[in-house]
């Protein structure tokens, strides 16, 4: 490396590093008009779960236009500040604390995973900011209820959806149907498998076999072979979209066309996009499908499809609801003071969002319901709405 070339490259790196400093905060800080109300969002923009980040980044445009178009909140426009949580606890906590130490941030939304929510919980207690969690596991719900008054689980707990799906399946396939369970050992899939099994046991039925697999497994032939041997005629499965699509594809290609009761990843537009027609005869108790019968949800799905030419995913609908419910709390509180907004949030008892209705009187499991869907001819067909009451 000649000396001159080395100097030039060093200069290049220095410029490369200095650039973000000048870029400063987010680009679209509007100068004219009243000060915008800032809401923080930590999302996984890079790495394995970057799909969630992509949905969150895109739905923010719709939400900001919608709310600011209709006069904003308390007469002020809102601005969503997004930080990348890099898919690890450390990344999630760093992103959270960066947002929290900016005083005009009123509330923060966690990434779509229970792990990240639990990792951010101690920081939420330290900064005393309203934090809405997108994770769905019961452990997160208990943490919201007991340990952290600032943490609200703005999501339907898996328990409600899994129980509703199993109850429906019990009627549909009759009492003597035999079940096998296959699930990812990742946090939410792990819980969902346990909840499916408990719901079955409530009906006095035991799953013949339970086959766990680690996240990122690609070759399920050995797992499906175990299920085939068990002679089950209904398969219960819990996994993320990519593994779900691979699993469905391999089950169908091995000639097994028994119905599959899947977690919310199984009726997701991405899964259907990948596995296509093979997804038929898959039942799922989900938060969200683009073909939702919920009026607000249908409007959001249409707007998202028209603007991005892509089906609106679960993460997008969730971020949409989280932002709107925070704005609702700010309207009730009448101020952007963090304590007041938090107290206002716990008064919300019947908020109709794009996914379901929310009751935040207790922090855990604020979402009350979801949708029961079956995939036919590559389309998610809504069989019915799941709704449950919150025992306060």
């Amino acid at each position: 490396m000649t000396r001159k070339l080395k100097a030039v490259t060093l200069l290049l790196i220095a410029m490369l590093l200095a650039f973000p400093v000048f870029a400063g905060g987010n680009s679209e800080s509007s100068s004219d008009g009243p000060e915008p109300i800032k809401i923080g969002l930590t999302a996984v923009l890079t790495g394995d779960r970057s799909l969630e980040g992509q949905y969150s980044r895109r739905v923010i445009e719709i939400v900001e236009e919608e709310i600011n178009g209709s006069g904003g909140v308390l007469g002020r426009p809102i601005e969503i500040v997004i930080e990348d949580s890099l898919g690890t606890d450390i990344g999630a906590v760093n992103a959270y604390r960066k947002l929290a130490s900016d005083d005009d941030i009123v509330a923060i939304i966690t990434p779509d995973s229970s792990n990240d929510g639990m990792a951010q919980s101690p920081s939420a207690l330290e900064f005393r900011i309203l934090t809405t969690a997108q994770g769905s596991s019961p452990t997160l719900r208990d943490m919201c209820n007991n340990d952290n008054p600032y943490l609200f689980q703005i999501r339907t707990c898996d328990e409600t959806l899994c129980k509703a799906l199993i109850d429906y399946a019990y009627e549909e396939f009759g009492p003597d149907a035999k079940y096998a369970v296959i699930h990812d050992t990742e946090t939410s899939s792990n819980d969902q498998a346990r909840l499916f099994t408990e719901a079955l046991q409530a009906h006095g039925v035991e799953p013949l076999v339970t086959v766990p697999f680690t996240t990122g497994t690609k070759d399920f032939s050995s797992h499906i072979a175990i299920i085939q041997q068990s002679g089950a005629d209904v398969i219960i499965a819990a996994a993320f979209q990519t593994e779900a699509a691979i699993l469905i594809q391999q089950i169908r290609s091995m000639g097994i066309d028994s119905p599959i009761l899947g977690s919310n990843g199984f009726a997701d537009p991405v899964t259907i996009g990948l596995a296509g027609e093979l997804c038929d005869n898959v039942y799922s108790g989900v938060q969200w499908v683009p073909e939702t019968t919920n009026p607000k949800g249908a409007a959001l799905a249409a707007e998202y499809q028209e603007r991005f030419n892509e089906a609106c995913g679960k993460s997008a609908a969730q971020v949409y609801d989280n932002i709107n419910i925070i704005c609702e709390a700010i309207r009730i509180a009448g101020t952007t003071d963090r304590e007041a907004v938090r107290d206002a949030m716990s008064t919300i008892s019947d908020y109709h969002g794009a996914i379901t209705t929310y009751d935040c009187r207790t922090n855990g499991g604020c979402g009350l319901g979801g949708l029961l869907v079956r995939v036919t001819k590559g389309q998610a067909e809504v069989l019915g709405e799941i709704i449950s009451e919150k025992d306060i």
């Binding site: 992509q54 070759d219 072979a225 175990i226 990519t242």
Partner: protein, 288 residues
């Protein structure tokens, strides 16, 4: 049931062999393990997706075009990540390759988005042999991969270009003395390595779908394949890859489905404890 496991294990295994072969070619020519080889697999898959789904070309043509593009990617990778560091310590080259793998992962996400995608299958449908239902795609993978290996064998052993590449691999300094343009020869080695692994990506896509981080786990398994097969030996890499595939399939079914990935490395340790230089490798001779 075992026949199904055999075929699916064999077909995934042979993909790992393709990655491992790509790595060994680079290792033999420049003496370092390429930590970004997994990303070649992913890029090959995405190129195939670009030709197949975005430009609606048939899958066969897409695979060929994808591997040609991968050839260029291989050369560009060599020029930016290896060549400026060829006189530096091997650890510096490893770290530079790691930096490149992070950049390649993010680059793929920015170009093709984060939504997992797929490509058409090389051959549709299934074949029933007795009770076993075997996807034609698995058979197609084994056939195509085998043809690629034969092609590479012929290129390396029989052709003039092959001899040049072998000579540079043996001793770069001597090769340059005999008039071989070393940068061209190493460039070709990287190109061929990227092409082989890229084809693996195109073949794997219909089964396991493409996302921008699929390269890392595949790369780690290819490492295991190389070590089991023995360092620096191409047949070792091929056999090692197939062993990894089979261990994954049968281990998952009979031993424990949760620790499937871990089983591969347990087998790796057993092989290393019995034969520290792997099945085909030569013992590392330390000179006094």
């Amino acid at each position: 049931m075992n026949l199904q496991l055999l075929f699916s294990g064999f077909s995934t295994g042979i993909i790992y062999s393709l990655i491992a072969m790509g790595m060994v070619l680079i290792f033999r020519s420049v003496g370092i393990m390429n930590f970004a080889q997994g990303e070649f697999l992913m890029f090959g898959g995405y190129f195939c997706y670009m030709f197949n789904r975005l430009l609606d070309l048939p899958i066969g043509l897409s695979l060929i075009l994808a591997s040609i593009c991968m050839g260029f990617v291989g050369v560009v990778f060599m020029r930016t990540s290896y060549w400026p560091l060829r006189h530096a310590e091997s650890k510096a080259i490893i770290v530079s390759a790691m930096g490149a793998s992070i950049a390649l992962k993010e680059g793929a996400r920015l170009i093709w988005g984060a939504v997992p995608v797929t490509v058409d299958r090389a051959s549709e449908g299934v074949v029933n042999i007795g009770t076993a239902v075997i996807m034609k795609q698995n058979i197609a993978i084994i056939v195509i991969a085998f043809m690629v290996m034969v092609l590479i064998y012929l290129l390396l052993e029989k052709t003039f270009i092959g001899n040049i590449m072998q000579a540079t691999a043996q001793d770069q300094y001597m090769a340059s003395l005999t008039g071989i343009p070393v940068i061209v020869s190493i460039g070709m080695t990287f190109a061929i390595s990227a092409m082989i692994t890229g084809i693996g990506g195109g073949l794997l896509a219909p089964l396991f779908f493409l996302n921008n981080t699929m390269g890392t786990t595949a790369g780690a398994k290819a490492f295991a394949a190389i070590v089991i097969g023995g360092f620096g030996s191409v047949p070792g890499a091929i056999v090692g890859g197939i062993i990894v595939g089979l261990v994954e399939a049968f281990g998952g079914a009979y031993i424990s489905s949760t620790y499937q990935l871990v089983l591969i490395y347990v087998v790796l340790f057993i092989v290393l404890m019995l034969r520290p230089q792997g099945l085909f490798g030569e013992k590392i001779q330390e000179k006094a």
